[in-house]
């Protein structure tokens, strides 16, 4: 994988082409308005003292109101490569980034209190940002503004928002070729630019491989098969096992939904056909089934056809960047259905949520989400600082809708549900942890080694690998089994 040689060459920082026609920081009051910017205590929000992009550190260290142009990079590389003009530009970027954060926070706060104010703040934000150009923070702020706008519209038009379904993150009617090309391209780019998808797939697959070494038949129930590439690589691994065991028969049951074309390319059937063709081409015994969910999207275990003697695996890729949003109840039904069927293994990949502690109010979780996605954006940029248009495409196709869906979920559940990940709920359902093997952990490290060394993987709670960028934990892959099934 080609890496940008000068990943810390900040003279290549994305140049802001957006012109700000607003009041300068020193206006007729003769004061620097940044002094008046509220200081956010990120420690309280993120639980860590390290933070994104050096911006937050400048906020905390300048709590007295001394704002300096911050050095752009906190890594070991010196900023002698950056010219003075760049430092100034970065200082300006920092100011603007700070301002955007504060505006976003004010908007989130206003959303729960005063819609007039929220509307006005969002209008202001829209003037300052664009989803297509500018710095990471600016583009991110554009998507977050859009998401907040969506929430505002929903609440305005509906009055109450209890029953409002999530803003659709499927481009329903966008079945045209142009759209599909975009998604294809974006997906490819996502995989090239970041390890997220592969991390989820490889960690799950490795655990599956380890769990079914002596089995003749393997049956995987996949909650969200998308394009099925996870199974292509599993099949390759199965046929090339070196220990001489015969290749087991692989059966995949893909959960499909009544709703029409999501962001996957084509239908589940096409995915099945593709996988079958691929399996045939490498000599993998294979069969494919669909399990249709009703319109309520609730999983019913009896709808899955089981075969005696097969090793059952439940695969649940929830929050990979390209995966859409599923209703909480649907996911819950899938996992409880797993409990009924007592699978050999459950592989779960989900977002890591920051420790917001007791602050489960909208604003706290909103800021956490902002932190999360900014780390995501940063991770892509660090690896590919020059490819801003490519990144913008990935952001538009995947991250933007995710942000909208994520905020909608947070907004709906404001204060009513405590924040917990799905993994935390599994022990209560009777699942027990399956330790991550050394090999699996090494594989993850190797994978990350292909990308940028800002990525980190750590093992938590024996059965979980967490992928993070710098110190922000982003994605976790955990392995479970049902207590009385034997391994």
């Amino acid at each position: 994988m080609a890496m940008a040689i000068d990943e810390f060459d900040f003279s290549s920082y994305s140049t802001t082409t957006t012109t700000t026609t607003t009041t300068s920081t020193e206006d007729e009051y003769g004061c620097n308005w940044n002094i008046w910017s509220p200081v956010i205590n990120w420690d309280a929000l993120s639980g860590g003292s390290d933070d994104f992009h050096g911006l937050i550190e400048s906020m905390m260290s300048d709590a007295d109101g001394r704002i300096h142009a911050k050095e752009p990079c906190k890594s070991g590389l010196s900023d002698t490569t950056a010219t003075v003009a760049d430092e100034e530009a970065n200082g300006q970027d920092d100011f603007k980034g700070l301002r955007l954060i504060h505006l976003l926070m004010a908007a989130a706060e206003a959303l729960t209190q005063s819609r007039d104010l929220a509307r006005v703040i969002l209008v202001r934000l829209k003037e300052l940002v664009s989803p297509d150009d500018g710095t990471n923070m600016e583009r991110l702020a554009a998507y977050f503004s859009d998401a907040l706008q969506g929430l505002l519209e929903c609440t305005v038009s509906n009055g109450s928002h209890g029953n409002k379904h999530l803003p659709s993150n499927n481009h329903g009617s966008h079945q045209d070729r142009h759209y599909h090309t975009d998604v294809l391209a974006a997906f490819q780019l996502l995989q090239d630019m970041s390890p997220y998808v592969k991390f989820g797939h490889f960690t799950a697959n490795q655990a599956i491989l380890e769990a079914v070494t002596h089995d003749r038949r393997v049956h995987i129930v996949d909650y969200d098969i998308m394009e099925g590439i996870q199974w292509a690589s599993l099949m390759q691994a199965l046929v090339s096992r070196k220990d001489g065991t015969p290749t087991p028969h692989l059966r995949i049951t893909a959960i499909s939904r009544v709703g029409t074309g999501r962001r996957s390319i084509g239908t589940i059937q096409e995915t099945g056909r593709r996988l079958a063709a691929f399996a045939a081409s490498i000599g993998q015994p294979f069969s494919f089934h669909q399990c249709r969910l009703d319109s309520d999207e609730m999983f019913r275990p009896h709808a899955v056809k089981l075969v005696k003697g097969e090793a059952l695996v439940f695969n649940c890729m929830l929050h990979l960047p390209h995966v859409g949003f599923r209703a909480t109840q649907s996911i819950a039904s899938f996992l409880s259905g797993a409990k009924t069927l007592k699978p050999r293994l459950v592989t779960l990949v989900e977002e890591e949520v920051g420790p917001t502690g007791s602050d489960s109010l909208f604003v706290g979780r909103f800021m956490d989400s902002l932190h999360h996605y900014s780390a995501l954006y940063d991770s892509l940029e660090a690896g590919f600082p020059m490819q801003s248009r490519a990144r913008a495409l990935v952001e538009r196709v995947f991250f933007g809708p995710r942000i909208a869906g994520s905020l909608a979920q947070i907004f709906r559940s404001n204060g009513e549900e405590s924040v917990s990940s799905w993994g935390e709920r599994l022990p209560a359902l009777g699942f027990s942890r399956v330790p991550i093997s050394f090999a699996n952990h090494c594989q993850a490290k190797l994978l990350l080694g292909l990308f940028n060394d800002g990525y980190r993987v750590e093992e938590l709670a024996t059965n979980k690998l967490v992928l993070g960028w710098k110190s922000r934990q982003l994605l976790s892959a955990s392995i479970w089994t049902f207590s009385d099934s034997d391994l």
Binding site: W33, T112, S114, R115, L117, I121, V123, K126, Q149
Partner: protein, 431 residues
């Protein structure tokens, strides 16, 4: 995404509906309260208004004023920052109010009101000229009866009070650049009996206007010649404050019938000196005194910042909205009038500790308050039916929304109301 719904124009739609119900509430209580927000039922913790009244700036400004009076510095900073982000002197009403009040609140919080006021004043002084001032006044008179209301009412009262007199002396304490007098001169010229001799003494209370009075005088003399009215023009401009005015400076002759015309003048007198100024006017032995003031109370709350702030916000919200609806959107005159307000707002809200060094006081009072003071030295004069007809005819020339309201109860005079909110008070008095 189509955000036209969320542009200020969209917000205006909701806002004006709410305002009308505000007016109706206000009329019955005669006291504008901020509309209480009805609690919503759907959300658990936070109180969210289900209405959209568009008045985001008022809420923020109030919170900020409250934070200032509580000296909550982090809250002050946060709110000032937010206001700065969202305000603009070129935006819609809410944005403008945010901008100008922000300036005043900022000055109050940083105790820099005096300096700010001086800066604002000097900027205006540099650009001030007879042409620009006259253009501004005339344009305003063209689109709104805000000032002409008082002129017409006063002229009627003066004309009637001086009926039959042959030597008239009008003492004009105002900043109208004599735009009031041409119509009176016409009336005098067409009077049934012999055209009287008119002496006009203008007392200038705003420092700005001194420079332009020469031209004003020349024009008035020319106009009087055209009308065939024997005319004499004098200016008293050496004063720094109205309370320094004495009878001697006015050059009053024994045989003159005197009328005193105070348009927006008494409010420039410090509150505690108002009674003595009125007594001084009484000592001139005028036949009639006409007083016109804007209907707002900034004086009884001099010591109560929040109360004063509320009243200021109420009054200027009405004023700005009136300006918005009267002028075309791109009017530069409107901008100048708004800027004048900004000076007043700073003066009232942020300069109160330093009344010595700042010249003009701007503490308006309401009609009933002035009435109480004036009653000590004068008797109220009821406006004649002719006068009321003239005023009504005047109002018909303008857009819908303007009305003449007669006083009730203890107060005297008449009110100009806009969208059922009294905004200007005009009255006449005799010894």
């Amino acid at each position: 995404m189509d955000i036209t719904l969320f542009t200020p124009k969209g917000a205006q739609l909701f806002h004006s509906n709410q305002q009308i119900s505000d007016q109706l509430d206000m009329q019955s209580t005669n006291n504008q309260q901020p509309q209480a927000s009805h609690t919503s039922t759907s959300r658990s913790s936070d109180s969210v208004e289900p209405y959209i009244d568009g008045k985001w700036a008022s809420k923020l400004l109030r919170e900020c004023a409250s934070a200032i009076s509580q000296r909550d510095s982090s809250k002050i900073r946060h709110l000032l920052w937010m206001l700065n982000e969202l305000a603009s002197p070129y935006g819609d009403c809410e944005q403008k109010l945010a901008s100008y009040f922000l300036q005043a609140l900022f000055c109050k919080a940083t105790e820099s009101g005096k300096r700010c006021y001086k800066t604002l004043t000097s900027v205006v002084e540099k650009n001030h000229s007879f042409d620009s001032a006259r253009k501004l006044i005339l344009k305003f008179q063209e689109v709104s009866p805000w000032t002409t209301f008082g002129h017409v009412a006063s002229n009627c009262a003066i004309f009637e009070a001086l009926e039959g007199e042959s030597k008239l002396h009008i003492i004009d304490i105002s900043n109208t650049l004599c735009t009031q007098w041409p119509t009176l001169l016409e009336s005098l010229a067409t009077r049934n009996d012999e055209t009287p001799h008119l002496k006009l003494t203008v007392v200038v209370t705003v420092s700005l206007e001194r420079s332009v009075m020469k031209e004003v005088g020349q024009r008035m003399e020319k106009f009087a010649r055209l009308m065939g009215v024997p005319f004499e023009f004098r200016v008293v401009s050496g004063l720094n404050r109205l309370e320094e005015l004495t009878k001697d400076e006015l050059g009053i002759c024994e045989d003159e019938a005197i009328a005193v015309n105070c348009i927006g003048a008494l409010r420039s007198v410090p509150v505690e000196k108002r009674v003595s100024v009125i007594r001084m006017l009484q000592s001139l032995r005028p036949r009639v005194v006409t007083v016109v003031e804007e209907e707002a109370d900034f004086s009884s709350s001099k010591l109560d910042f929040l109360k004063c702030f509320e009243e200021c916000l109420r009054f200027y919200t009405v004023y700005f909205e009136m300006l918005q609806e009267s002028f075309v959107p791109t009017s530069s005159e409107r901008l100048m009038l708004e800027r004048e307000c900004s000076r007043s707002i700073v003066r009232v809200l942020a300069c109160d500790d330093e009344s010595e060094s700042v010249e003009e006081c701007e503490r308006r009072e309401r009609g009933y308050q002035w009435s109480e003071r004036l009653k000590e030295s004068f008797l109220p004069v009821r406006f004649s039916d002719d006068a009321l007809d003239d005023v009504k005819a005047l109002l018909k020339r303008y857009r819908v929304g303007w009305e003449l309201v007669l006083s009730q109860g203890n107060d005297c005079g008449i009110y100009l109301s806009w969208k059922e909110e009294p905004v200007v008070w005009a009255s006449a008095w005799k010894p």
